[in-house]
């Protein structure tokens, strides 16, 4: 009897074990290294010289561009996650309808996801270039413009394009998370709702949203993290140039680490980013987990 009880307490952890091991070894150890580096004095070639407390953090925060970079990161995350979630959700609703060619349409929507970010970003850089870009060629052939446009006259314009590419490649992810959630909705709900006289928005708000909430929660939380930490798009298109105007924390710390040889400061920046994410994600998760418990 006692043995059975022990088994019952231990079983859940056994089920978790493979997953825990995998993450412990391959992710948590490297994360620990980042924390250690952020508190150390590190030479240009990356050799750890000793403990320095919070010096790296102080240097980072005092840096003249840190505020700008932080602001960029927040704007980038909110714009990309917000818009891609909205558009991705709408798209999932569209693709959940039966229509001719749905299979093909669904396959095509995966395309931006199926190509690596570096290449996607490379193509878009190529498209919007004001000198040899293909967008100008296309619009000129279509007669929309008569001479080449400069699509990126200001750093802000570059940043807007980067956000667009971010949205473009994130949409498929959201769409498929929502689509998989939509699959599990029983059509009977809609039918009875229709009988009760519910309109499109009623059904959306009261049936669809609550039921896809769990998949939407996952996709949003992870999206916030992925987008916040996204590197290839901005790196490929502008490298954060000109003068940090399009830098986010990750591209900024990459330059600190690998271009300026300031590994300690780079680690400190990533810890700061981590803390910001932790706060945002835990607020969001506490709220949604609580809701889940109430519902259950």
């Amino acid at each position: 009897m006692k043995k059975k009880k022990i088994m019952k307490t231990v079983t859940p952890y056994l089920w978790l074990l493979p997953s825990i091991l995998l993450m412990l070894i391959f992710i948590l150890f490297p994360i620990f290294e980042v924390f250690r580096t952020s508190l150390s004095e590190v030479s240009r070639a990356g050799i750890i010289k000793g403990f320095t407390g919070l010096d790296n953090f102080a240097k980072v925060i005092k840096g003249p561009t840190f505020g700008l970079v932080l602001k960029n990161t927040v704007v980038w995350t909110i714009v990309v996650v917000g818009l891609s979630t909205l558009i991705g959700f709408a798209l999932a609703m569209v693709l959940n309808n039966e229509f001719r060619g749905r299979k093909i349409a669904r396959a095509i929507v995966v395309f931006p996801w199926a190509t690596s970010l570096i290449i996607q970003a490379g193509v878009w850089k190529f498209i919007i270039d004001s000198d040899y870009g293909t967008l100008n060629t296309l619009f000129m052939k279509l007669g929309l413009i008569s001479k080449p446009m400069n699509w990126t006259p200001t750093p802000g314009a570059y940043f807007a394009w980067e956000c667009w590419v971010g949205i473009f490649v994130t949409i498929p992810f959201v769409t498929f998370c929502v689509l998989s959630g939509l699959q599990s909705i029983d059509a009977a709900y809609y039918e009875s709702a229709t009988v009760d006289g519910a309109g499109f928005w009623d059904k959306l708000l009261h049936i669809t949203l609550p039921l896809v909430r769990s998949s939407l929660t996952v996709s949003t939380v992870l999206n916030i993290i992925y987008v916040f930490n996204s590197f290839p798009i901005i790196w490929t298109i502008t490298k954060g140039d000109p003068a940090n105007r399009t830098d986010t924390l990750v591209t900024y710390l990459y330059k600190q680490a690998f271009y300026k040889g300031r590994t300690g400061e780079a680690a400190a920046i990533s810890v700061i980013g981590f803390l910001i994410l932790c706060i945002c994600a835990s607020v969001y998760m506490v709220l949604s987990l609580r809701k889940e418990e109430q519902d259950a």
Binding site: R44, A45, S130, D131, Y132, N150, P155, K239, P242, Y259
Partner: protein
């Protein structure tokens, strides 16, 4: 079905993941080399094959890494306590400062050492010791589109006044052409700094070799360059148009004049561009025209070698710098040699290269031996980009100087 696929894939993963078998009795030499262009990887793989055949008992491994990623790869390896034995890259001072390198004369045989241009070896001296050996160099000059300049009725400019006038004339002739190309990107913006300040009597350091980033000459030079951009004489986006973009736009006849490396002809020809161009000295404002030289190096990490291992490394360098093989290496991607014999061979093989061999001998190099170089490089690029956005050049350079030297 999927499960079967996955299972198969997993098994395949296990099999393929088994590390490549190495022969315990062979002395291994691991090299990380920068990828200069399309032919580098193939050249090295042939080199490795020949080397391993000719030198039984040594197993040479060469990893060719794209220039975009090489700092990431190398720094990660060093921090993971797995530095390569030999590294081919542009900078060495950071590694030297951490005591990671061996002095060049410890591992390069005297015979090979004597082949190199002394002026090149001097670029790698810290505390009177040479820490790296040059593998190749390139030099920069002004390339201009002969047809456009003729049509606009101007001669290739030699001074800044002539340059401004030429830009104006080209602009008047056809305003869809960019008269002048400027690259102030994170990629290579420090080159622009060199082109303008060196040709205005300024530069990164003063005559004593101390940082002098905010000299009056430098301020004037950067203001002049930014002014060219603001007057609409250049490519529209100097903070993002890299040297590749400029070279291709030059090839396409979109840019009329550009300062570019001696490998431009190869680049243009391989790209299939048809453009009628010629070379001239970089326009200058004060003193004589200065060409910018860029030099890359081999360095050897101190991984606690046994005598056999050190001997294997020496063999590698002897083999690499053998005259015939070395000139092949240099010609492969259109670079300039760092050894005297190489210089003769290259000049004999290609007449147009002879002039370049002279140019590189007299050109200035970045102060890469100074410990602050990485910061200076990023700092001048940042200052240029801020100046493009409208900030005051003098203030920017004063701040940079204070940051670096103060």
């Amino acid at each position: 079905m999927n499960k079967k696929c996955l299972a198969a894939a997993t098994i395949a993963a296990m099999v393929a993941a088994v590390p490549t078998v190495c022969y315990a009795e062979d002395t291994e030499v691991n090299v990380i080399a920068a990828e200069y262009g399309q032919n580098t990887a193939e050249w090295w793989s042939n080199f490795v094959e020949d080397f391993n055949k000719d030198n039984p008992g040594i197993k040479l491994n060469v990893e060719v890494v794209s220039w975009n990623d090489i700092y990431t790869v190398v720094n990660t390896r060093i921090q993971g306590n797995n530095a390569p034995d030999i590294l081919n890259i542009d900078v060495f001072a950071d590694y030297q400062a951490d005591g990671l390198l061996l002095p060049a004369q410890d591992y390069v045989s005297e015979e090979t050492y004597a082949k190199m241009y002394p002026s090149f070896l001097e670029q790698s001296i810290v505390d009177d010791v040479v820490w790296a050996v040059p593998d190749l160099a390139s030099a920069r000059a002004l390339y201009y589109n002969v047809d456009i300049l003729e049509a606009a009725g101007v001669k290739p400019p030699t001074t800044w006044e002539e340059l401004t006038a030429a830009c104006e004339a080209i602009k008047a002739y056809d305003d869809s052409i960019y008269p002048w190309g400027i690259d102030m990107t994170t990629d290579e913006g420090q080159a622009a700094f060199a082109y303008y300040t060196w040709n205005n009597g300024g530069g990164f350091v003063d005559e004593n070799g101390e940082w002098a980033l905010n000299s009056a000459e430098n301020v004037e030079a950067i203001e002049y360059a930014v002014n060219l951009v603001n007057s609409g004489y250049t490519n529209s986006d100097p903070a993002n148009d890299t040297r590749y973009d400029l070279q291709d736009m030059f090839g396409a006849g979109q840019v009329a004049m550009v300062i570019a490396p001696n490998s431009l002809p190869t680049y243009i020809a391989e790209g299939g561009h048809e453009v009628n161009y010629a070379v001239a000295s970089i326009p200058c404002n004060k003193g004589e025209s200065v060409s910018a030289g860029v030099m890359d190096r081999f360095m050897c990490f101190d991984n606690g070698y046994s005598d056999e291992e050190l001997a294997a490394i020496t063999t590698f360098f002897d083999y690499f710098y053998e005259d015939a093989r070395y000139s092949e290496w240099v010609l492969m991607e259109g670079f300039l040699p760092a050894t005297m014999a190489g210089g003769e061979a290259v000049a004999a093989a290609d007449e147009s290269m002879a002039a370049w061999v002279d140019i590189v001998g007299s050109s200035k190099f970045y102060p890469t031996a100074k410990a602050e170089w990485a910061d200076v490089k990023q700092g001048v690029i940042d200052a240029e980009q801020r100046a493009l956005l409208g900030e005051d050049v003098k203030t920017l350079l004063d701040e940079l100087q204070a940051d670096i030297a103060g």
